[in-house]
């Protein structure tokens, strides 16, 4: 299963998904969120939902100098914090901005496609989809 942003036009910008993600990581607040919602240049234009797309050949993995990032087929990328040196290459390499940064630990955070945020999306913007159904 993979997390999919099915329709950003349905997004109301409540950011409940962001709070859910951080909460799952054991933190209230927004420090640990691996999903981002921001306006598409003014809220009247709607919202951009940024989250890891679980690329087949993730650019973030390719630029990691310490082998801390590993691609998990169809389930995104895992970060081994013991190997990570916090260089930020992965964040620079992701063109959609889906590598988030934990400022407190100074390490990257990437969605693990667990789907917890889906439960807190009130309008069906997010879905967990079977891999074969993923086309985008």
């Amino acid at each position: 299963m993979k997390l999919s942003v099915v329709d950003t036009e349905r997004c109301i910008g409540c950011q409940s998904c962001m709070f859910a993600c951080s909460r799952l990581m054991g933190k209230a607040g927004l420090t640990r969120t691996c999903i981002g919602v921001r306006s598409a240049g003014g809220m009247e234009r709607g919202f951009v939902v940024i989250v890891c797309r679980a690329c087949e050949d993730p650019p973030c993995v390719k630029v990691c100098p310490s082998g801390a990032l590993k691609a998990k087929k169809g389930k995104g990328v895992r970060v081994d914090l013991t190997k990570c040196i916090g260089c930020g290459n992965c964040q620079d390499a992701c063109p959609i901005g889906a590598v988030f940064w934990d400022d407190e630990a100074d390490k990257p955070m990437i969605c693990i496609h667990c789907g917890y945020c889906v439960k807190y999306c009130p309008h069906g913007v997010l879905e967990l989809v079977k891999l074969e159904a993923v086309t985008c």
Binding site: A28, T31, E44
Partner: protein
Amino acid sequence: MLKDDTLANVLYVDLSKKQSWVERRQDLFDKYIGGVGVGIQLLHEECPEGCDAFGAQNPIIFAVGPLNGLFPVASKTITLFKSPHTGNLGESHAGGRSAIAIRMAGYGAIVIRGASEIPLYLAIDGSQVHFRDASALWGMRSVITAGRVIRGRETSAGFRTIMRIGRAGEKLIPYAGVATETYRHFGRLGLGAVFGSKKLKALVVSGKCSLPVSDPKLYQKIYDEIYQAAVNTPAMKKYHDLGTPENVLPLNKIGALPTRNLKDAQFEGASQISGEAFAEHYLGRRLACAHCPVACIHLAALREPYGDEDFFYKTSMIAYDYEPLYALGPMLGISDARGLLKLLEKVDEVAVDAMSTGVILAWATEAQEQGLISEKETAGIKLSWGDYTSYLKAIPLIVEQPNDFYKALAQGVIHAASIYGGTDFALAFGRNEMPGYHTGPAQYVGTLIATRHHHCDNAGYSVDQKVLVKEKLTPRELAATLLKEERWRQILTSLAICLFAREIYKPDLVSRALQVAGFDIPPEDLHRLGEEIHSEKYRFKFREGFSLDDYHLPKRIFETPSAVGALDEKYVRQTIQQVKQILVKKQGKT
């Protein structure tokens, strides 16, 4: 509260000295929770007695509470200041992303002191405070443009609030507001003018800290309880579906919709400007405040041809809520939804309180109708019920004040009527223009005693519709009912939740939610604390000259029958006396 919670951090910013520092004020948060409870204490500390509302000594206090950032629908920021419009306690609340941004930046309150000699905006990103030159933004015609510029210059998209003033604030219109995230407002009592007097064009706050909880399992349990209630209960559904304009038709049906300066309380054009009509013809998008799944913010898409060139259109997204809609719609006899949207857009462009503006224009229209003023005063404009084009011309003149008449309008309806006459139909209470409920006596008593200053309304309209419509209350009973509800609402606004969720945040739930944030306050103690916070607000009010003996009740409210029949002036005055007696007993003051 929990020891490691950043809530207790109060950021002080001195605009005169261009300095900022943080003080840990756990004393205040432990005792008064946050929001309005802590805010009023900071106002007592910061605001000298009798100070000029436009003077550098008048502080601006922003306060959030422990539930902001922890639980859904806890989305409000409370501001406190001395109001230039009433000369007394100024309180204004707004959502958008403001509360979450302040909390996530690591603060429970922000205190702004002093005044800048040049226009500037403040950019607060976590612990960083930047004073930025805003000279190039000052005087911009539209607050939307100013917001767009700042959005492009500052970082942290998605984690920030951008509060800004428009021309009305710069021109010190005492009922100018502050817009946040374009579509939400600290609308009432002139916070925008206080910003303007400090040459503070905008305030950007951003951050993304984490918050401690006392018990993660309990946190998750209560979170889900609130979240499910917010997305599933009928009480929230109305805000989600049609938004606050859902009120138009029911209020019209019971005869409580102020129309044409309250010459009527039913509007023949109500169905054209109802929540249903807007949803069917104009609703283009719904938005939510940060951490609220309800999405009550409704934006209309208005497509208009430019007219000077074929196939050349613009589409504007305009927020519509009940109160602005009442004041610029029925109050001015306007049933043309497109015209009404243009008026809403116009007041938003200059960031002035839509409610005050509508009520002032309604008075001016009647004054012109009666011959108290002529086109000489209005600069050639024939203000007439239903003609939105005349009001579209008048609003910018109120802001720019080209003559004595518009200068008077810019000071509010009481001031204008004191010069030109028509005080009997100048619909303000305690100098603040009325909200859109001609429901009955409770609404007016609530507005007049100004027990909660911030907003559009008070608990009175609900008492009228739920209680007085069925049974009679003695003045003492009504006074006690109003005060009891308002005291409880001091707790809700200290948390600080959106009052639309007041049916979810009942005392028991509030007590349990606070436990997660490390506050051990049983429900009965919450009631006591609400009473104390309420009392602390009145302490400020009485200090600044508030009186329950000397007040103005415009005759108009007694001439037009309300939803519970014709209002009895004697009953209204007796109820106010009863409020006074209860407060005196509590305060030992008159």
